[in-house]
Amino acid sequence: MGRMAADIGGTFTDVVAFDEISGELITEKSLTTPKDLTDGVKDAINLAGITPQSITFFVHGGTTVINAITERKGVKTALVTTKGFRDILEIARGNRPDLYNLRFRKPTPFVPRKLRFEVSERIDSNGKIIEPLCMSDLDLVISQCKQEKIEAIAIVFLHSYSSPYHEEQCSKYIIEHLPDVAVTASHEITREWREYERANTAVLNAYVQPIVQDYFNALETSLNSKGFNCPMHAMQSNGGSTSFEWARSHPITLVESGPSAGVNGAALVGKLCEESNVIYLDIGGTTAKCSVIQGGKVTVTTDYKLEWSRLNPGYPVKIPVVDIVEIGTGGGSIAWFDKVGSLKVGPLSAGADPGPACYGMGGIEPTVTDAKLIAGVLDPNYFAGGRIKLDLNKAEQAMNKIAKGLGVDILSAAESIIRLADADMINALKLVSIQRGHDPRDFVLVVGGGGGAMHAATLGRELGVKEIIVPRYPGYFSAWGMLATEPRKDFVLTRLRQIDNISVNEIKEIFSDLEDSAKDYFSDDKDINIGDVKFETSIDLRYQGQEHWVGISVDYSRDSLDSIKKNFHIAHERAFTFSLKSTLIEIVNYHLIATAPVPRPSSNSIKGGFDESQSFKGKRKVSFGEDGVHECHVLDRECLNPGFTMEGPLLVEEKSATTIIHPKQILNVDSLGYLHIS
């Protein structure tokens, strides 16, 4: 055997394993078992017929961290901060994104005022100590924390990104005196400036740390007792994985592990297809998510905000997270009329319960899935491989109110919903691509998730990508992405300097320091050979006076200051249509991405050898939206030969997805069994 990934979701536990001997990919689903989550994992591998001893590398993905935060089930947490600044967490940034709402409410801080303590100390922006840390203040804080039975403490001092000295001193002292309390000093999670954002990050880490620590302890013990003795890793939010050990003390880095696994999978699909520029789209039940992979690299930012929306400032978390744009349109999104009778789709979703009307589980509102059924894209008898029978009558009943409202027939109503949903997704796809200076013609569109395949051809055509790729097992894409993950750690350091006042040598020194930290980080992992660790370096630059920066990759052994400047001007012009050649340039942040290569599953060729009667399942009348209604062939994905090619209109069915191909689009099946539509 070989690597195995388990994606433990709220309802299902997905297991994907790669058999290195036969080259086969094994997928299985079981019900999640909340009491002991490893039972669900065990069930799934039993179903799949895998023995724990044969697993050589285990990757975990799950929702423990994000659930503990969104359900507010973390521990009693205190904040220790610089004197004069305990209200930073409550003042936040003071912004009102919902600007015409004159009853605006801010997100409630995770630490109430009475548990936010101040101590005298001060460091300036250059890292110079202005006032030493006052130990007697700290003693008082410690006794108050004891009295309040505090379980976790976050420490945030001003300018700790520049010098963490006081935070380190404070953390050490608190741990000595409160050995049972989980302590997070902000610099351990992020070395970027902005005190509110860093405070919130440290607080959230502390808030979930004891819970996640217990969780991984239990998980590890349980997996060991069941016979798993391989290295165990946890999927992070940056597209890479980390050891359980690190995850226990830095749990906040796991917050978006699911989406990050999908994006990571898309990058691997790109690599296997020799396409380095990928736009990834994942359509689930309630939302669609998209992200851009450029030059084979996943886009990672530290501007992530939990519970953010256009109307809600959310909670900033300064950790590296794959850059994802999420919109409230998915398969379960409900269509409705607003007060003046304009048709809208989402963000309200029928979810899994009751689900779309056609599930026959009590849903009466028309959804995107109902529209796809009416349009003929979905086969009522082959949804989820036939496990769920879809009820066309119920879908039509629900659709009737939309048809009446628009004054059209039922099919036109369904087509209208599909077009609106597609339009929302197009706007999101443009946001991550065109609006960030990328030309879609240089990209392929890779889709994942249950719903991606039936929207892909339409979206890809309007976006103007060169090709659309539907990988194998789109319904297991997130778990497959975990399987393909590498141990990874991102280092970001804020050091503001004018570029003309710095030498390439100094840049090199900063990066060597970061590389040393990276080696240190990986040295704890006995399965990783330090010599194999790979580094990528980039810096964020801006014109003096600007706030936002543009990141460019640098190679300090070859780049000169002039070449860095030149690349920055080009990157700025691409992103914002102009450059300012005579304006001074500042370096803001240094990024180092360290990855430890582990053998990744190679995707094996599909066998082929099917004859035509097996590939063609039959014919069906399908609406292709603007391209009209066609009686088209339905192909069975499991029985397509490598090299198969055919012009649309077409449908390709498999258990977890249906792919549509518009008239005049060409379908090609490659040797890996991936569908290419152009």
Binding site: N95, Y100, R113, S416, L420, G545, Q546, T577
Partner: protein, 572 residues
């Protein structure tokens, strides 16, 4: 067959995405913190008549101001508008706000026919004039408020006129920043041209024109529906503006709101004549102030366009503090327009408690600190609006430390960024629990204290804070909130000010920007005792305040004394 309305919805989505993209471009490219942190800008797309079709705002001050500005360009240039042109205006007396707000307007032609206008407006940190930052609190004429561009052509055939750039460079104190902001706005209107052209090409001229109309009509309909839901009648409010910058007197202002059927009129007749100081608004700013609260009332989340505002009439004779005439100074117009918004808000608050809260700290409390950085030998100007306390709501306490109505998705300045950029230190940033808030069943939100220490010998400040005499109003028996002020601690002597035109500062001096708490809602004696106790434990209120304002007695162990509390509350 797809219904027409679906295509129109799709086009509307694309137009909104265009306005959003313009906003992203401006905030990313700008050189001025007042643009990228305060988001003091707005972008939009108008139809060929100048009617606003879509708009994205960082703040509310530009709500519905675009039409007047685009129409001023149409009036001035008539047929002399060609593809590749870009126009620039900052004239408060021609639809603008104050000289610092510079609008760039680009006509968009499809097949050589004018089909649309793209517009971007942003607050430049400096446009010359009597003081650095261009907003002199004691200006008596607009000529002291920097250079005015009365609707001039800055690009021909998409080429920037170099003379204009030189004009900007030689008339502003921070030319690099100004030209950077000019470029940011230019990039925004250019992006809009590209996107709008794509939309016209894909869907055809007829369809897009019809969509413009559909957008306006559907909002008009929603707006009228919301007005019809309000009871017909006449609602009024009175207030005072505390000082105009030149004088510290109070100036009366008032509004009468008349609702009849599906129309609503706002009549400001009786408000103070225009002042010598820069607190004046011109009509454009007044109309934005009214539209802001009206939008809050009818549909806070719906995207803004001209249609919403069709049922509105604004009445105010010329020459008042809200309808000032040339050459009145308008630098601090947003302090005046905030008062206009508050008047409308107050007049309607009792009618619509589900949309409107009690009175807030209201004023942006903007403080300017400028000087010369001895390390770089360069001039710096720091401008920052302050967050403050908002009024209580019908079902919750007011929000504390939140930016005023006139702004919006505006960020306070990070202490760490601030200290890395300016030769100043922030020594405290906290909730203003000392002055308190308006008590009530629901209490107001807390103001904030921001204390600056000056680290250099050559620094200066000026400021203009409103609500320094009048207090934020309570609602339905809720109490008044507290005042805004600035404290200057120089050579150990403390001075309290609200609007000053200049104060010299040197090393070791301190400035404290203190904002007030919001008004309360309902009777404070009915506030649940547990909430009063929780406020005490969190240090929001002292035990004295718990007793005097809320009738709750807390003993020396921090526990509620139930017997004393009952006696006290029943006695009152």
């Amino acid at each position: 067959m797809i219904a027409d309305s679906i295509t129109q919805e799709i086009i509307r989505g694309k137009l909104l995405a265009t306005a959003d993209e313009m906003g992203i471009v401006i905030s990313r490219c700008s050189m001025s913190p007042v643009i990228y942190e305060v988001l003091d800008f707005a972008c939009g797309v108008c139809d060929p008549k100048g009617q606003l079709i879509v708009q994205t705002n960082g703040i509310t001050l530009f709500t519905g101001t675009f039409a007047l500005q685009v129409q001023s360009i149409i009036r001035r240039f008539g047929d002399d508008i060609s593809p590749g042109d870009v126009f620039m205006t900052n004239d408060p007396f021609d639809g603008g706000t104050h000289t610092c707000d510079i609008a760039l307007i680009k006509p968009i032609f499809i097949d050589s026919k004018l089909e649309s206008f793209a517009i971007a407006v942003a607050h430049w940190s400096e446009v010359g004039g009597a003081v650095a930052g261009s907003i002199s609190p004691s200006a008596t004429e607009i000529y002291q408020e920097g250079i005015r561009f009365p609707g001039i052509r800055v690009c021909r055939n998409d080429e920037v006129q170099p003379d204009i750039i030189e004009l900007i460079r030689e008339n502003t104190r921070l030319p690099t920043m100004c030209i950077g902001d000019f470029n940011a706005e230019l990039a925004a209107v250019r992006i809009a041209e590209t996107r709008v052209t794509e939309i016209f090409t894909k869907y055809g001229k007829e369809t897009v024109r019809k969509t413009f109309n559909y957008i306006l009509e559907s909002s008009d309909k929603l707006s009228r529906q919301a007005i019809r839901d309000l009871p017909d009648g006449i609602y009024s409010a009175k207030d005072f503006i505390d000082g105009d910058g030149v004088s510290n007197d109070q100036f009366p202002v008032c509004v009468e709101v008349r609702i009849k059927g599906d129309e609503i009129a706002f009549d400001f007749t009786g408000s103070s004549p225009q002042r010598n100081g820069p607190i004046n608004c011109a009509f454009g700013a007044l109309s934005a102030a009214v539209k802001t609260v009206f939008k809050a009332l009818v549909d806070p989340q719906g995207p803004s366009n001209e249609g919403w505002f069709r049922p509105i009439t604004i009445i105010c004779p010329e020459g008042t503090i809200f309808t000032a005439k040339k050459p009145a100074p308008t630098g601090w117009y947003y302090e005046g327009s905030a008062q206009a918004s508050e008047l409308v808000w107050r007049a309607l608050a009792e009618l619509a408690p589900d949309q409107l809260s009690a009175g807030s700290y209201m004023s942006l409390c903007a403080a300017y600190i400028f000087g010369k950085d001895p390390d770089t030998d360069e001039m710096f100007v720091h401008i920052e609006p302050a967050v403050g306390g908002w009024g209580a709501q019908s079902d919750s306490d007011g929000t504390g430390a939140l930016i005023a109505t006139t702004d919006g998705d505006t960020y306070n300045y990070s202490v760490e960024l601030f200290e890395a950029k300016f030769p100043l230190r922030i020594t405290e940033y906290s909730l203003n629990v000392n002055d308190g808030v308006g008590a009530g069943y629901w209490r107001g939100g807390f103001g904030a204290i921001r204390e600056f220490e000056i680290l250099i010998n050559d620094a200066h400040t000026y400021c203009s804070f409103g609500r320094s005499i009048e207090k934020p109003w309570g609602l339905k028996g809720g109490k008044e909130g507290t005042n805004n002020y600035m404290e200057i601690i120089r050579s150990g002597i403390l001075k309290r000010v609200s609007r000053i035109s200049h104060q010299e500062l040197s090393k070791g001096d301190k400035l404290r920007v203190v904002t007030g708490g919001g008004g309360g809602f309902g009777s404070p004696l009915e506030r649940p005792i547990s909430l009063v106790h929780e406020d005490f434990l969190n240090g929001y209120i002292s035990n004295e305040v718990a007793k005097s304002d809320f009738g709750v007695v807390i003993d020396e162990n921090g526990k509620v004394d139930d017997i004393e509390t009952t006696r006290l509350r029943e006695g009152q």
